[in-house]
Amino acid sequence: MTAVFYVASLIAIVATGMVITRFNAVHSLLYLIVSLMAVALVFVALGAYLAAVLEIIIYAGAIMVLFIFVVMMLNQGPESTRQERLWLTGRMWVGPGLLALILSAELIYALGSNSAHLSKGAVAEPKDVSLSLFGPYFLVVELASILLLAGIIGAFCLGRREYLGKEAPKS
């Protein structure tokens, strides 16, 4: 399982790098999907099967499909690829690269100081995860659901057709 962890992590890092450097939006998204699946495999290697499957269902299977949907609907063609190529110049790399370097240095320092956290824990059964979600972390679950509800109502109001129809004659 240690080998699985390292291979999956490497794939995740490489794929994420490719996400940033691709000029074509759909190719970037494809690499992002690969990256998410690699992260799911990292979860498997750490014994968190539920988290792995949910990562694939929700992130790779639902959210990324929406991204692809939007990119396809805009269908920008070769013009946007050319524009992207102009934007991604050498100077663009300096700022984000520096910040990422500091973060990765901190991460390596944190991992080096107590590597015990990385060791593979017990396998988390779906039932245990659910019991802790609806036990000690119940308040957090409820808060998250309120946030999502607000998001849904907001999206509904923005997408409502009668609302737009009423606005149009006034103006």
């Binding site: 499957v53 949910l54 790779a60 499909v65 949907f69």
Partner: protein, 325 residues
């Protein structure tokens, strides 16, 4: 079929034998299904169907296979080549991967995962990419429209597909498909979870984009939808994926709602195959019987009718379980 026995089935060689035989079985089942579909459709529509090649036209799929391999494997010059080639692979891969968690008998299951049901949902949600990317990579407006339709449709139907199965999970108390089958020894879940069954079947037909939900490839308006630019074996892969999807949805329906391998007298694997076969024929009957839906009806139906109903199903199942506890 417990010839292998649990001890043999658990060894590496036993696993290899099981995996290879299931793979061979599934891949060889698809031509047979294509023949079955054409014959049954013909029967229901008062025609003969393929009846010239071999006895009852049984060798027709082989002739079709030879034809499809002989065809030119054409990649349009305006297509995105890598994505164009990868897209049909995705649907076959996810279809075959999902079979890994299906328990054919108590002894024969490739991966006895404790999140088996979620694994099936994950694989079926990954299958969307095949259609969406094929539509995009073809760089053809009809294909693109087909891909767009497919991604919106499958996203909408996936959401309540998962929710419609949660009633079963609550009754069985597990995501493990083998344990779900074992929990149905007293009563098949199609009785207490009848609304869940109906919702899952509707979602399953939409996920495999079969009639009446075959809007992504509606030939009267979109040429052939997402696979308009595909030919030869790449087109064959989409075909393979579609029939794998039908078999998968039938097998999962049987596992979750109709007691999987459970049944009297006959050996478990026969029961499983019989029940799955009935649902495969049901898929074909749908194609013979129903017209295509309108697109706005299709999307509205998923979000406005089925999603609230599936949530209600979860709520009522939970309330009944709490009351009878």
């Amino acid at each position: 079929m417990n010839v292998a026995g649990p001890s043999f089935a658990e060894t590496f060689v036993g696993q290899l034998v099981i995996v290879t035989s299931i793979l061979m079985l599934l891949l060889n089942l698809v031509p047979l299904l294509i023949w079955l579909e054409r014959r049954l459709l013909a029967l229901w529509q008062d025609r003969y169907g393929p009846n010239r090649v071999g006895p009852f036209g049984l060798l027709q799929p082989i002739a079709d296979m030879i034809k499809i391999f002989m065809k030119e494997d054409w990649i349009p010059p305006f297509a995105d080549k890598v994505v164009f080639v990868v897209a049909p692979v995705v649907v076959v891969f996810t279809g075959l991967m999902a079979f890994a968690v299906v328990p054919f008998t108590p002894g024969i299951v490739i991966a006895n995962l404790n999140v088996g049901l979620l694994f099936f949902l994950a694989m079926s949600s990954m299958g969307v990419y095949s259609v969406a990317l094929a539509g995009w990579a073809s760089n053809n407006k009809y294909s693109l429209l087909g891909g767009l339709r497919a991604s919106a449709q499958m996203l909408g139907y996936e959401v309540f597909m998962g929710l419609s199965l949660m009633g079963v999970v609550m009754l069985a108390g597990s995501f493990n498909l083998r344990e779900i089958v074992e929990a149905q020894r007293g009563m098949w879940f199609c009785i207490p979870q009848f609304p869940g069954l109906i919702m899952f079947l509707i979602a399953g037909v939409a996920e495999t984009h079969r009639v009446p939900f075959d809007l992504p490839e509606a030939e009267s308006e979109l040429v052939a939808g997402f696979h308009a630019e595909y030919s030869g074996m790449k087109f064959g892969m989409f075909f393979l994926g579609e029939y794998l999807g039908i078999t998968l949805i039938s097998a999962i329906t049987v596992t979750l709602f109709f007691g999987g391998w459970l049944g009297p007298w006959l050996p478990p694997v026969v029961w499983f195959a019989l029940k799955t076969g009935v649902f495969v024929c049901g898929f074909i009957l749908l194609r013979a019987a129903l017209p295509r839906m309108r697109y706005d009806q299709l999307i509205g139906f998923a979000w406005k009718t089925m999603l609230p109903l599936s949530l209600l199903n979860v709520l009522i199942t939970g309330a009944v379980m709490l009351a009878t506890k």
